[in-house]
């Protein structure tokens, strides 16, 4: 969620959100279209996620990121999104974590959910956010020699010419 939302922010009443709010001080929580979001700072993220996993949120649906560089009213640059679900009660919860340049770093969720392995590699590849404790933090979708992080807002859609930089084969070469 943007750090300065301008729509309804009723307090969520779901199990996961109330649990986090009771266990940690000063967490911002809101709900939108029936989905609960809780903002957890990076220092408390590992503990909060372990708590949620033990409480029954056994399915990590997605890990992704938003670059708020061009967003009106944003206060931090990167917003991480962790989507969790409970397979027994079908509850969902969104955990947000905001980090900033330079060197954005958060703890890795791989010890808790194995699904986080590739999802975090993708976030590293496309946004440049480091996950401390990740067993194998390499690029996933871009080639290993690629240097930029393409989904950041300051990287142009058409790229910086990397896609034209290949040898040309003519009929003579074959």
């Amino acid at each position: 969620m943007p750090t300065a939302p301008d729509s309804d922010t009723a307090q969520p009443r779901s199990r996961g959100a109330t649990l986090l709010q009771s266990r940690f001080e000063g967490l911002t929580a809101s709900t939108f279209r029936g989905q609960d979001r809780v903002v957890v700072p990076a220092e408390q993220l590992a503990e909060a996620m372990a708590l949620l996993r033990d409480e029954g949120f056994d399915l990590l649906v997605d890990v992704s990121c938003v670059d708020y560089l061009e967003y009106r009213g944003a206060t931090s640059r990167f917003g991480l999104i962790y989507l969790l679900a409970d397979t027994r009660t079908n509850e969902r919860l969104t955990v947000r974590c905001f980090v900033d340049d330079p060197e954005p770093t958060v703890p890795s969720m791989v010890p808790l959910w194995e699904a986080a392995n590739w999802l975090e590699r993708e976030v590293w590849d496309l946004f440049g956010i480091r996950f401390s404790g990740h067993p194998d933090l390499r690029r996933l979708v871009m080639p290993q020699e690629f240097t930029a992080h393409p989904l950041r807002k300051d990287y142009p859609l058409q790229g910086r010419g990397e896609r034209h930089n290949f040898p040309v084969l003519t009929r003579d070469h074959s």
């Binding site: 301008d6 729509s7 939108f32 279209r33 989905q35 649906v61 397979t87 079908n90 194995e114 496309l126």
Partner: protein, 408 residues
Amino acid sequence: MSLAPPSAEPASSVPRSEDYLWTLNFGPQHPATHTTLRLVLTLEGERVVDAMPEMGYLHSGFEKIGEHLSFNQYVTVTDRMNYISPMANNVAWHHAVETLLGLELTPRCRYIRTIVAELARISDHLLCNGAVGLDTGAFTFFLYAFQQREVIYDIFETLCGARFTNSYTRVGGVSQDITPLVIEKIRGFLKTFPKTLADMERLLNRNRIFVDRTKGVGVLSREEAIARGTSGPVARASGVTRDLRKDEPYLAYADFDFQVPCATAGDCYARYLVRMAEMRESMRIVEAAVENLPAGEVDVGIAQRTALPTKQQVYSTIEGTISHFELSMSNRGFEVPCEESYAAIEAPNGELGFYIVGDGNETAYRARCRPPSLLHFAVFPHLIRGHTLSDVVAVLGSLNIIAAELDR
């Protein structure tokens, strides 16, 4: 060791067990890798010791395009994700957009989207099982599946003009309403498909070769399926009874009586059977939906200012004229809240969801696609250790990894 060469070599060069491992590069251009997947296999003889998957050979920057195209334009790009069942992607994208906008669809639109989503599910499962058959040597099965898919393509072409890559849905409705000819074709398909499906099952279900190649191969336990984030038929074949059509009903699924097939074995054969059974259930849903299709408007009303009004409304009512003006002018468009939301549907492959960040105008600020194939491909090394090289192909086919959805 008895296998040491008899020549006069020093004893320190006795081969260790690691020396018998060899590396095989499988892909990214290989018939069995279903387009561009790459696996670097470490083999001992024919047994796989380790598999390192590599992806990204089809990464086209879909999520970055989502930041430059409006909601109705981006649906054309979502077609190109899971290109086996593009209708399901369209439905998923607009489901997510309409969740963000808080839009309520008309009953007719919900039924139409359910019908096309279920036809897309049948199409996807036909191709997935057909590809499993093709990879394990059953070419006739593959041709039967493709012939049925051509019938579904014909239905889609009559409905919206394109065989696949339809871009059928729009914000607040669909691009063309369903016509009686389409309904007739769907009824014809429902009449002939069960017999073909029975023929296909007779070919493979108790075929000794197929069963030997797929039973007990690539077993995924229930705990691993949840911990690794799998969903859809892959998870349901391992005993995870989670189906978004039943757990979080969307569109018109709450009105239909259908079952969700699950299995406990978790091997390739279970995944094959789950997909075959799901096709039968999808047929039931389509039949019920076609018989009970509600009449009325397909697009949402003028008051929501999202779907284009009809020509009659534009020329005869002032609200229609204003709405048309607002939607067509490029610097106006409809109001999008500056908020974020996530919405997922039960795509044929699993849970396909979009996390959309809106910033006021018709173009998303961030359109993140949660691909089921990514997590399934990550599961692959875990499934394949200890199996032989020929099982690699069967397992890869049964996971239904679509490279475009994987890489986006």
